[in-house]
Symmetry: C2
Subunit: 704 residues, 2 copies
């Protein structure tokens, strides 16, 4: 299907504004890269100082070309860029890439120049990438619209291509984007596109992602981001990728405070809070990788192998030590390395020397590799339903020898019905890479990365997109009546939640000693009593909580003590009264909260309550709203999940009720996001199955 | 200082028993490798079928040589090996390496042949490596006594050497050992020795480690182990390495059940339980790495850089995105990336373009790199005391250009007083590696590995060997009086602990209803009462525990109920009585235990008690005995350590008392290891500082 950006990524004609004869400088390099990479369309160098460049006619200005132009590449001083764009727009240039630097990343007047570019794009409809971009490469249409040294073509160099499927790269850093391409190509992973987003005056990473998602020549997407600007487009593209099952491997940097400092000064964008990014990635099944080689290894697996159907791995090796290491590594990633059945072991033993091992890891030995036993064992395990993936651990450092024959290996790889992954413990030789590429094999050389990639691939295979909750949000409600102060008291907070349909225990706010009797009669003993004030955020710090009051006498004494203690600790606090609540039944302590992220809006969070959450950082976030099904999936991701599911003989808890509560809270947060900044329920006690969950304390923070 | 194995690793003369003219086969390859690597000593091929090989005189048998022989390399069929060894011993050959396979790893008769080799070594004093070994390489004395393809010398190849210091490799897998060497040399890390241990009939990994520790040409040791056999030598070498500050990087495989399966069938050794290995590694400051490239990256840092004095890292970059990624990566490892002072930022700004960044990460930009700003910024930060290490993030893929001049960079690297680490996000070119090696720089290409290596280096810099506890163990005591059944009751266990000098609450075992009154009077209310039986391991499962009994009446009722419940649940159990204990004061719940490891003997363990230990696997092990100081260090390594140190405003706990208890228990376990298999104190409650710790329950398991 045609796409508006087709003329950007697959232009028939390119104008080079600022073209130069000097191949040492970036403007000169751009033109020579386009030609070296055999751009098949028309090229128009633009520079008033030359009549021709390297045999190409050079035009004084874009207006002089007199032909339709799909793409203008602009590499002239920053202050001349806007004028050039105006000229482009005047003659109907459809797209532009601005390589020039010196805009928003410098701040001040330079930022204003970028604003003018944004306005021009809006006004004219011309699509603009950059400024401060490193351009893009299309390997599909041979467009090297970039000065990246990694697209240079060495004479006589034959590119290594092992994969039938292709990966696209979308990066908010040109240096890193093309480094990903460089490393992927070194492994033999075929590339469709590599695009760097620069300052994203008009075209942003989200829109580029959207292009790659719909692009039929792209099977896997590698995404490198510092901070998403075109959030709506990004989210739509992410959803679409999940719907059509196109895997996205994402690296998000700016996670640390130091990294964030770099992001702010470098891209003129505030890097978002990473937990929200990770929540969005989780929602759409993105594979998160924070290492370049790991990301490329995952891409290599996804472009060479079918998805695994389960977690059982056979490890085949020519070195005992290497096989054990391979088995350890995939086991540490949570995959299984099951002992093989006696029948398949018997078959394997006919293929290997007596001092080999057939159980799993299967050690075919160096001799077994040379005599074809390795190849035949791969065939056998590929055909077997005892394992879901095969990891081959071997040494491929030789520049002359290889333990496979293409005629035998290629048919197996072509017909493989499970991942067959090749890892060399010695550094693989170019010979081995080249020879194995002919059979469709990528040789990997980082064992931990291989283990992570195999686990990630399985997780991706299991991923199911949660049904959209777009229709679940109720009409936006007006809760302003409750939001009288920035931070609400527990009583106010619970009143708001109750109004929003969330079930809470029956409680009474007592404001006079006289009213306490009736409250006790209504709630029943034993009681909990808590001081209420919008000025007291942490009640227990002012002695403001009394639990397990079992007699009327205790309750009256507590009432007075709570008021006295609050007055003593916080004489200035305005006291609402004392909240009288029933003692909650025992349960597993859980914390549920919502907050607003600057980039992605409402988020919902759940974690094990008490000290554990803070100490082990065992919390899970998702964009709000979530359905109860999605909330239950969040609970399943907690390290502490076993506590909810009958740990050490305890009763299984009412996870359904808790999931329902999380969903309700997330819907409330999303629909009231104009007014409510945060909600925290801490703790909610989850009781045994069928007995629900009890909200013990709650806090709502109004949006400032 | 001379060492008995000098004649093994640096032989003046080598006999090749089984030498061959066929360079394609292993025996032929061995001889040619020795000559290609320019072995400077005398070579005696032994083979009755040849008069000469490649111009060297060939002898019918070792007895015909008539010259002293330091080393015999044996590569003949397994059943001929013992005879050859006898001949070697008869003519006074000092050392042998048996390359031949077909011994213990095959089991049966073949294992018996290996036993005979062991006996011969003992009888004759000849030192023997192997069988089933891949041999060794000495780069110091140019001895390539191995058939590993990785020691082949390509004509015209100039080895890359960037480091002044050298790494030695000791591996229980020849394939992996030489793969480590292959990867280390590819980075430019200088190697002293690489030795594969094979079946370890005589010489084992522990003794090889000991050699490398004392070897003055070795600065760092890379160790790959499946399971240590010469445990005493290994531990002595480990201690010596720690004492003299020679870093050991260790990879231990066979950690998973699948990996362990491989280890058993492959090396004829039972792989030990990995927690004990990790405990030993921690005790001696070994750097654990489970990834080949990561291990080699750590070795590269240790052989190029001085130890860091602190955790503050400056990240220098030519790519904004790369710098942020670098800052994120080291931050995730717990290192700091502090904002630089205004004065140093001002200096840096004079070196870089206006669109660069000076705060940290410092983005000198591509232009800044080309104009020398990168080099000058490195100088500046090396001289500054604001940071303890420098991470340079750049692109070194070019085969022709490099942003440094050797004349400028080498003096800085030679005089560096902190780690200066170079990471290229594109794949580094051979040109860049070669050029930078001239200045003493290793170019690294795995960012996560770099981050881990920097953290590991800092941890190693902080490591202090705990003083030996060898004198602390009391004379072995006879506890057999307590060890009447395999599993002791709580009462028996506590009696044993008390006898060993460990403080416990005053408790009374009540065996008749009549005795309960006196017990209550002695212990005081409130009480805990627990059923005691050597047949009941889990008291709470039979309703055998009653806590917080506040009146005599409750206590009498509980006594009867405990007996009734035990009889109902376990009619066959022999009941000792009911243990009456005081209610313990509140405290942080800790579990302390000891056990016997098959390889390393007594181990002591500590973890946070309750569900947390099991759920988050937050436990630390050390070889027993440990001093109180070492025990306190163990506590500091717990993820839950903050709970002991005044978490969220709670009182700090009596860590000193807990550490003392752990030490006492570890001394008991070590001194009574002939009789006691396990001790578990679960829980011990740790009270606020000065209030000690209370042992609530204890279990001793006799050695079977």
């Amino acid at each position: 299907m045609p796409h508006p950006l087709d003329s950007f990524f697959a232009p028939d004609s390119i104008a080079m504004i600022g073209a130069s004869r000097d191949h040492e400088k970036i403007p000169g390099r751009l033109l020579s890269m386009l030609r070296k990479n055999e751009f098949p369309g028309r090229l128009y160098p633009i520079n008033p100082n030359y009549g021709d460049i390297d045999g190409l006619k050079c035009y004084p200005s874009i207006s002089d070309v007199g032909q339709p132009i799909d793409l203008a590449i602009i590499i002239i001083p920053a202050r001349a860029v806007l004028g050039a764009l105006e000229q482009c727009a005047a003659v109907g240039v459809r797209n532009a890439v601005i390589i020039s630097s010196g805009f928003a990343e410098e701040g001040g007047d330079s930022a204003a120049m970028q604003d003018a570019i944004v306005a021009l794009a809006k006004r004219t409809g011309m699509r603009i990438s950059g400024p401060n971009a490193e351009g893009f490469l299309s390997e599909v249409q041979k467009v090297a619209a970039t000065f990246s040294p990694t697209v240079d073509v060495k004479p006589g160099h034959v590119p290594l291509v092992a994969t039938r499927r292709r990966a696209a790269i979308v990066a908010q850093s040109g240096g890193i984007g093309f480094a990903i391409k460089h490393r992927a190509k070194a492994l033999g992973v075929a590339i469709s596109y590599c695009v760097s987003a620069g300052n994203e005056a008009d075209l942003g990473a989200g829109e580029f992602l959207e292009y790659m998602v719909q692009d039929s020549s792209t099977d896997v997407i590698l995404l490198f981001i510092e901070g998403i600007r075109d959030v709506g487009k990004f989210l739509a593209a992410a959803r679409r990728a999940a719907e059509i099952g196109k895997p996205v491997i994402v690296t998000k940097v700016g996670r640390s405070s130091a990294g964030g400092r770099g992001a702010a000064s470098h891209t003129a964008s505030m890097a978002g809070w990473s937990a929200a990014y990770d929540a969005v990635f989780a929602k759409y099944g993105f594979i998160i990788s924070n290492d370049l080689d790991e990301a490329v290894t995952i891409a290599a697996l996804l472009t060479t192998s079918p998805m695994p159907r389960g977690d059982r791995v056979a490890v085949l090796t020519v070195s005992g030590g290497g096989g054990i290491w391979g088995a350890d590594t995939v086991s540490m990633q949570g995959l299984q390395v099951p002992e093989l059945s006696q029948s398949i072991q018997a078959e394997i033993r006919t293929l290997i020397p007596s001092y080999g091992a057939s159980c799993n890891p299967v050690d075919v030995t160096a001799q077994g590799a040379n005599s074809g036993g390795l190849q035949k064992s791969i065939d056998l395990l590929n055909a077997s339903d005892e394992v879901d993936a095969i990891l081959v651990v071997l040494s491929l450092s030789s520049e002359v020898r290889m333990p496979f024959k293409q005629a035998e290996l290629k048919p197996v790889i072509d017909a493989q019905n499970k991942p067959i992954v090749f890892y060399s413990y010695t550094l693989p030789s170019n010979f081995a890479r080249t020879e194995l590429a002919k059979s469709g094999v990528v040789v990997l050389s980082g064992l931990t990365h291989v283990g992570v990639a195999m686990r990630q691939m399985l997780q991706r295979a299991k991923f199911r997109l949660a049904p959209s909750m777009d229709d679940a949000a109720p009409a936006s409600r007006d809760f302003s009546g409750y939001l009288k102060s920035a931070t609400l008291s527990e009583f106010d907070s619970k009143a708001l939640l109750r109004d929003a349909g969330i079930a809470l225990p029956d409680e009474v706010l007592v404001t006079t000693r006289e009213a306490l009797d009736a409250a006790i009669a209504r709630i029943g003993l034993p009681l909990v009593m808590k001081i209420q004030s919008r000025d007291i955020l942490h009640k227990s710090e002012v002695g403001g909580v009394r639990v397990n009051l079992t007699t009327k006498g205790e309750a009256f004494a507590a009432y007075q003590a709570l008021l006295d203690s609050a007055r003593q600790h916080r004489p200035e606090a305005e006291i609402q009264g004392v909240l009288v609540s029933p003692m909650a039944k025992k349960g597993v302590e859980i914390i549920v909260g919502t907050l607003l992220d600057a980039t992605f809006g409402s988020m919902v969070m759940v974690g094990l309550g008490g000290i554990t959450t803070e100490l082990f950082r065992d919390v899970i976030y998702r964009p709000a709203p979530v359905s109860a099904v999605e909330a239950a999936a969040m609970l399943g991701e907690l390290k502490a999940a076993p506590l909810l599911n009958g740990f050490r003989g305890a009763a299984k808890t009412d996870v359904a009720a808790l999931a329902q509560l999380i969903s309700q809270l997330s819907v409330l947060a999303a629909s009231a996001r104009e007014h409510i900044a945060e909600i925290e329920i801490n703790p909610v006690l989850v009781h045994p199955i069928g007995q629900g969950a009890t909200i013990v304390d709650a806090l709502v923070v109004a949006r400032g």
